[in-house]
Subunit: 142 residues, 3 copies
């Protein structure tokens, strides 16, 4: 049984949905030692989130941002928690809709993702800054 | 420590929410060997998803489809990613709302679900075709 | 390798979002034995859910309830599953949006949460009653 945990910082990104699969994988060469296992990717924030979606067309990421910002509007009049700006409470709500973590099976040293699946960082703040991620790998050693 | 991973294909289903608990369980008799553990069920697609909800009244599944298709409308004018049809971009969005995986505790050889909980395949495309699922079991052997 | 599973009951709470981090942690002193691991927290219901969000300002919890109850309205005319009351079908939908489980990394005997992250019980029914939670811990022993 193999356990590995690492905390990394992702650089600040603009508001929107960003493909980070390659960036994450470069941080965990240890995954190659696992024959069958699980990867957990966890974001330590409440105004950004993680999701899995289409990894090819950037328009998908653009449409995700358009949709979620329509669905949870900045500065909606019914929000009470407004001290940190009109984008803050919507960011918290989007974070709970998408969720803070992903659990991806590992097979023969690799994430067992579908052909079109990529990992997205969902940055819900206008100026969210750098984001902290915990990656936990576990599984059977090859 | 016991690890088991299996990839299965679910047959094509029409758009909507479908109860698949029994179908999944028939694929994993190995679960009976585990005293305490976790099951991860992961869908390798970005226009279908998995969720847990009420397992008794088919109207719940119908109302879920009604609600989510109102909430994320086919062919909304603000979508840019439209080449694969009016149901494609909404399918991606619903997939991120519901999420691609479930993590269910195992207790004494069985999924430790509540009485009314069932596993749903959420098919968000009009013609999504067959869907690939990865089931990963891990735990202490009995 | 260490496995631990416990089922607990949370007392009935009113409809809304409730911070339960401390209440959960008091139930699992066993977590201190783990150096690297994962915690899974699973709710055995389909009209309540779990999420992680801001742990400081109660207005965030209030705004979450306001938003989700606007977004998934009680008694919407298109719901067919209405026998258990106007808040029941919306509760099922919110449960699938937020999800039934959390997967949180364990580091050196503690949940590896961000400074501002807390665990919420999301009670979507007007009178949901007591709620059953399964906590599963796994990891390397210190």
């Amino acid at each position: 049984m193999f356990w590995f945990q690492k905390e990394i910082f992702l650089p600040a990104r603009k508001r929107g949905f960003h493909l980070i699969t390659g960036e994450l994988l470069r941080e965990i060469p240890e995954i190659q030692q696992i024959s069958i296992g699980m990867a957990n990717i966890f974001i330590k924030h409440t105004s950004a989130s993680l999701t899995i979606n289409e990894n090819a067309d950037p328009d998908v990421r653009r449409d995700m941002e358009t949709y979620f910002s329509k669905s949870v509007p900045d500065g909606a009049p019914y929000f009470v928690h407004t001290m940190e700006g009109p984008d803050d409470m919507p960011a918290h709500i989007k974070a709970s809709i998408m969720g803070p973590s992903l659990n991806i099976p590992i097979q023969n040293g690799r994430l067992n993702l579908g052909t079109w699946q990529g990992i997205y960082l969902c940055e819900h703040r206008d100026y969210g800054g750098s984001r902290k991620i915990v990656i936990t790998l576990q599984g059977e050693k090859k």
